[in-house]
Amino acid sequence: MSFPCRYWQFLFASAVGVVLTAFSAAAADSPAQAAAKADKILRSEVPYANPAKVAPTRIDDERFLRRASLDTLGRLPTPEEVTAFALDPSGDKRTKLVDKLLANSQFGENWGRYWRDVIMYRKTEERAGIVMGALESYLTASFNANKPWSDIATDFITASGDATENGACALIMAQQGQPEETVAEVSRIFLGVQIQCAQCHDHPTDRWKREQFHELAAFFPRVASQLRPQTQTFSVVVNDEPRAFGGRGPMNQRRQGTPEHFMSDPKNPQSQGKLMQPVFFATGEKVPLGTRDSERRGSLAKWTTKKDNPYFAKAFVNRMWSELTGEGFYEPIDDIGPDRSCTAPHTLDYLAGQFADSGYDIKWLFRTIMAGELYQLPSSAPRGSEDPHMQHNVVQRLRADQLFDNLLVALEASEPPPLGGPGGPGGLYGRGRGPRQQFTTAFGYDPSERRDEIAHSIPQALTMMNSPIIAQALRGNGRTMLARLIGEIKDDKALTQELYLRVLGREPSSSELETATRYVKTVGVRTEAFEDLLWGLVNSAEFLHRT
C-alpha cells in the first residue's frame, strides 16, 4: 500500500484515544441519575424511621425557592423571583431553578466567602486580613468559572508570589509560612484528616504516628511567608538554595525556608532533630531528599487530587452534603479519618466516586445533592444523639455575610464603605471598622465548627435589638424603605404581606396576619406599629436561619 502502516496505526490509536477520553469525561452519571441512585443507597443504609417507613412529603415550591436561594446565592429570593417561580408551570422547574442559581455570579461570591472563612478562621498570622480581598477574589472567580476542586486544591498547595495579588497564597500566608501549621491545614481542609494531633506525639486515639505528620511537613520546608514593609504586602517565597539554616529572626519569626524539614527531639529540644523525607501518608508515595520545592509541592498536589486518594473526594462531598442537608456522613465535617465512624458509608462512597469521575465538578455536586430527596425534605432541629440519622433537612444558622446582605436588601440600605478603605486604618493590623466588619465580629463563626454548637450570643441579640444603624434603617419616617411603603400601601394587610415578603421571603400565614392587624389596632399609630413589626421581623429567629 502507498501509506506506511504506522500512519494508520497512529490514526487508529488517536481515534481510540479520543473516544476513550470522551467516555471518561462523561463517566459520571447525570445529576438526576446520580441523585436517584444515591437516594436508593441511602435509604438501604438509613431507612426512614417513621411508623409507615416512607419518605415524608417534600417541601412546597415556595420553601424550595427560599432554601435553594439561600444555599446557593446566600440571599433570599426577591419578591419578583418568588412570584415568577410560583407561576412557572413546568414540571422540571426545580431543576431549572438550580441551574439558574448556579449560573448567577452571586453563587461564587457566597461560596467564595464560605471558603474564605474556612481558611481565615484558623489563621495564626494576625495580619492575614491584608490578603482577604485577594483570597475572596480568587475563590469567587474560581467558583463562578466552575474550576475543578482538584485545580483549586492544587493552586493552594503550590502557591507562591505576592499574596495580595495571588489569592491562593492565603492558606500558606495565614499560617505564617510555617510548614507544620500549613500542612495541618492542607490535611484538614482538603483531606478531612486531623493529623496535627500527631505533631508532638503519636496520635492518642488515631493511627497516625509522629513520623507521618513530619513526613508531610517535609513537603513544605522551602516555603516562607515574608513581609515587605515598603509595599505593605506579604509574599510566599521559595528558597531552593542549599543553605544550612533558614533563619529565625531575633524575635523567633520564620524568615526563610530551609532545604529540609527536621522533626524535633523532645528529649533534646536544642538539637536540630531528625531529618525527614517527604512521604504522603494518604497514598504512601514519596520524593527523595534534595527535591526542589516545585516538585515537592507539585507531587503533593498530584497525589492529593488523584482518584485513588481515599480522602480527597470524600472530604469535599461530606462537607457539601452537610452544608446542604444539615448532617454530614462524618461529623465534625473536617474529620473523616479512617478511625472515625461514618453514617451511610456506601452512599458517601458512591457520591465521592461520582464526584471524582466528574472531574471534581463542583456545580455537578450541587445539582446532584439538590436533586436528591433528603435535600427537599422539611427541615427540623439538628438530631439528638439518640435520634436516627438523615431523616430530614436541618434548620441552619446563616453566616454573618449572608445575614448582613439580607439585612441590606430587606431594608433597602446600601453598604457604607469601611473606614479607611479595604485595608482599613492602622496599616497591617487594622481592618475597616465599617458596619459589615462589626456585624461579622458579632455574628461570624468558623464554618467547620459543628453547626449545632454555634450558640446564639448576647452581643448578637444586642446588635439586632439596639444597633443605631439598624434602628435608623427601620424608621417609618424620612427616606427609608418603610417610609416609602407606608406611603404607597394604604391597606394594613397588604403592607404586612409586603414586609414579610421582603424580610423573610414569604407571605405571612393567616395567624401572623391576625397578630399584625391586632397589634396595629392596639398601638393606634400606624407608622409606629409598622416600625415595631419590621423590628420584629429582623429580630426573629427565622431571619437568622436557612430553614
Partner: protein
C-alpha cells in the same frame, strides 16, 4: 470510670443551661446508669462553690510592651539605663523608675517580678501567648485568661457578664474553645456604655416589641423552627435582662462621687480603672483594662514618661481604693505587657523588643506585697537565677484565684487542653 469523670469535669455549661449534646456525647449510657452524679447535683455543688469563692481579677494590660528600664527595673548606674533615674519607694531597699512616684508609695502592696522571660518577640504571638499560655495554632482556639477565669469563677446566673474588657483588645483573643458565653463584653472606652446596650426606643416600647416578637415566632416554631426559636427566646430574654437591669447602671462611672473620679483622674485609663473597681464590686469576675501603645522604638524616654503619667495615678488609686473597700484580699491585680524592651538604646533614642528579661507586677489576691522577686544583671541583659516563664506566671495567677491549672477543656475535635500546660507556681509571691 475515671474517663467519665474526666469528661464530666470538662463538659461545657452554657449560661447555666446544660448543653444537651455535649452531655450525651460524652457520657456513655452505661456510666449514666451506674449512678454517676446527676447533672443537677453537679450543677448545684459547683454553683455553691463558685459563689463562695468571691475572687476576682483585674488585668492591667500594657499593650505594646512597656520598657522595664523606665518602669520597674531601672539601671541608673549603667549606660543601658539611659537618662532614667531611680527613686525610693515606701519599702526600704526597693527602688523603681522616677516615672512612677505614686506607684512607688504603694510598693507595700506590690510584688515586682523582674525575671520574666519568654522567646516570643512579635506583638501578636507574644500577646496571644501571654493571654492564653499557648502559641497560636490553626487547630485549637485557645481561650484567653479572662474567659478561663470567667468560666471557672463566674456566676452563670448573674445579670452582668463575668468578663469585661475595656480598651484596645488587639491579639488578646476571646473565649475560643470555651464558647461564646465566655467571650468578653468589650467596651472601647469606659466613658461610654457598652456597644448596643442603649435601647433604640424607650423602655415601654422596647417591652412591647419583645412581646410582639414572641407572638410573631409561634408559627415558625411550629414549622421546623422549634429549637431555633426556643434558643433565640432564651438569649433575647438574657439580653433584655442585661440592658434593663439596674446593674447596667454600674457601667456608668458618672455616678461615682467626685472624690473618686478625682482620685483616678480623668484620663481614659483612669476611668477604665475606676470602672473596673465598680464592676468587680458588682460581681463581675474579670476586668481587663488596657493602656498603650508602649512600643517605643523611637523617642523611648519621652514617650514612656508620658505613658507612665497616664499609668501612675490610676494604678495607685486602684490599689488604694480596693484596699479601703476591703476588696484587695480577694482581688488579684496583674500588671504586665507582652515582653520588655532592649537594654541597648537604638539610634532613634528608642528601645526595641526584648523578651529575654522583663518585668511584671502582682498585687492583691493573697499576694505578699513589698517584695521583689528575681533580678536582672547589671546591664539588664539577662535574668539572674531562675527565670519566670509565661506559664509560671499564669500558674501563679491561677493559684491566687483558686483555679486548678491542670483542669482540661475540650477542643472542637475532642483534644483535651489544660488551662495551663506546664509551668510552676512562684510560691515566693504568696509567702
Amino acid at each position: 470510670m475515671s474517663h467519665t469523670v474526666h469528661i464530666q469535669s470538662s463538659v461545657t455549661i452554657r449560661r447555666g443551661q446544660l448543653h444537651r449534646r455535649d452531655f450525651l456525647r460524652a457520657i456513655p449510657a452505661a456510666a449514666a446508669a451506674a449512678g454517676v452524679l446527676s447533672w443537677s447535683d453537679l450543677m448545684s455543688v459547683r454553683a455553691a462553690d463558685l459563689r463562695k469563692s468571691g475572687k476576682a481579677c483585674i488585668l492591667l494590660w500594657m499593650q505594646g510592651a512597656p520598657s522595664q528600664f523606665e518602669t520597674f527595673d531601672p539601671k541608673p548606674g549603667h549606660a543601658n539605663g539611659g537618662e532614667t533615674k531611680a527613686i525610693k519607694t515606701s519599702v526600704s531597699g526597693i527602688e523603681i523608675a522616677e516615672n512612677l512616684p505614686q506607684v512607688a508609695k504603694a510598693m507595700g502592696d506590690l510584688c515586682v517580678i523582674r525575671s520574666m522571660n519568654s522567646r516570643e518577640g512579635q506583638h501578636p504571638r507574644a500577646t496571644y501567648l501571654m493571654h492564653t499560655g499557648y502559641l497560636p495554632s490553626a487547630a485549637v482556639k485557645y481561650p484567653t485568661l479572662g474567659s478561663i477565669v470567667a468560666k471557672e469563677l463566674g456566676n452563670p446566673a448573674s445579670d452582668l457578664p463575668s468578663f469585661v474588657r475595656i480598651g484596645n483588645s488587639r491579639f488578646s483573643d476571646g473565649a475560643g474553645l470555651l464558647g461564646v458565653d465566655y467571650d468578653p463584653l468589650v467596651m472601647p472606652a469606659a466613658g461610654r456604655p457598652p456597644e448596643n446596650t442603649s435601647l433604640a426606643s424607650p423602655e415601654p416600647r422596647f417591652q412591647r416589641r419583645l412581646g410582639l416578637l414572641e407572638q410573631m415566632q409561634t408559627d415558625y416554631a411550629n414549622h421546623g423552627g422549634k429549637q431555633a426559636v426556643s434558643d433565640h427566646q432564651k438569649v433575647y430574654a438574657q439580653a433584655a435582662k442585661l440592658v434593663l437591669s439596674p446593674k447596667m447602671q454600674r457601667f456608668d462611672i458618672s455616678q461615682e462621687p467626685q472624690a473618686a473620679k478625682d482620685a483616678y483622674g480623668s484620663s481614659q485609663f483612669g476611668q477604665g480603672c475606676l470602672l473596673a473597681r465598680r464592676l468587680i464590686e458588682t460581681g463581675v469576675t474579670f476586668v481587663e483594662v488596657s493602656l498603650g501603645n508602649w512600643d517605643t522604638h523611637q523617642d523611648n524616654f519621652n514617650r514612656t514618661r508620658t505613658l507612665c503619667e497616664q499609668l501612675d495615678q490610676p494604678y495607685a488609686a486602684l490599689l488604694a481604693d480596693l484596699k479601703q473597700r476591703g476588696m484587695l484580699g480577694s482581688t488579684l491585680v496583674v500588671w504586665m505587657g507582652e515582653f520588655g524592651r532592649t537594654p541597648r538604646i537604638n539610634p532613634s533614642s528608642g528601645r526595641d523588643h526584648y523578651p529575654r528579661a522583663f518585668s511584671a507586677v502582682l498585687a492583691g489576691g493573697g499576694v505578699k506585697g513589698g517584695q521583689v522577686i528575681g533580678a536582672t544583671d547589671a546591664g539588664g541583659d539577662n535574668v539572674q537565677g531562675k527565670p519566670v516563664g509565661v506559664n509560671d506566671m499564669l500558674r501563679t495567677i491561677c493559684h491566687s484565684l483558686g483555679i486548678d491549672a491542670k483542669k482540661e477543656n475540650m477542643s472542637s475535635v475532642g483534644r483535651p487542653i489544660k488551662i495551663v500546660d506546664g509551668g510552676e507556681v512562684v510560691s515566693q509571691v504568696f509567702s
